[in-house]
Amino acid sequence: MEFSRRETLGLALGAAVMTVLPLRVSASIVDDRIAEFTGGADMADTGIELTAPEIAENGNTVPISVDAPGATAIMVLATGNPTPGVATFNFGPLAGSQSASTRIRLAGTQDVVAIAKLADGSFAKASAAVKVTIGGCGG
């Protein structure tokens, strides 16, 4: 069976669309969530620290911690999960520091994003790439 030039191009295009499409869908959810949290405001690159392992063997429990001095709230998103939301931390008047640690699920290798709402109303963003050996969403 031989492929003509036209068919080959068509196949290649189809394959490209197939690989890009799922990413695009989840990326738009992430953008929506970020816009909802920040109200479309610009985000600074400093003022928040996100600690996550470079390589996670088991995507079911990946330890992360966030630290944003002076923040009132921190939202964490896993950009490559079917549902990107992870958790939103709100800090009250008795919070000793605007930091917290938890364990999260990651479906696969992806970027984890943390956005802090600072006391002066501005926003800061940090992201960390995590390589996941075994995904954590069942299936």
């Binding site: 079917p82 709100n90 008795l94 000793g96 999260i104």
Partner: protein, 109 residues
Amino acid sequence: MASGVKPRVKVPKKATPGEAITIKTLISHQMESGQRKDKEGNIIPRSIINRFTCEFNGQLVTDITIEPAVSTNPYFQFEAIVPEAGDFKFTWYDDDGSVYDATKSIAMA
């Protein structure tokens, strides 16, 4: 899901006034994400703890909104300022409407 849910909290017994202490909390809960399927291919419905709060003598320390990407047996570590002796109150809110709580007292050193 309301079986076998057991909150565990670690708070120091004593602190000096104004000190920032570290609190560790864990609650045993399966945190069904709503993404998994059973043997017949049916989606197992979501059942998670969706909110956790910590208060000290009625004042808020932290209020965490939890989504399905938080692992089974959700664990949180954070810091709190202790202005005086009193009680920490921890509350977890389940999707099914159940509320689990735990209280820890702290004394002044």
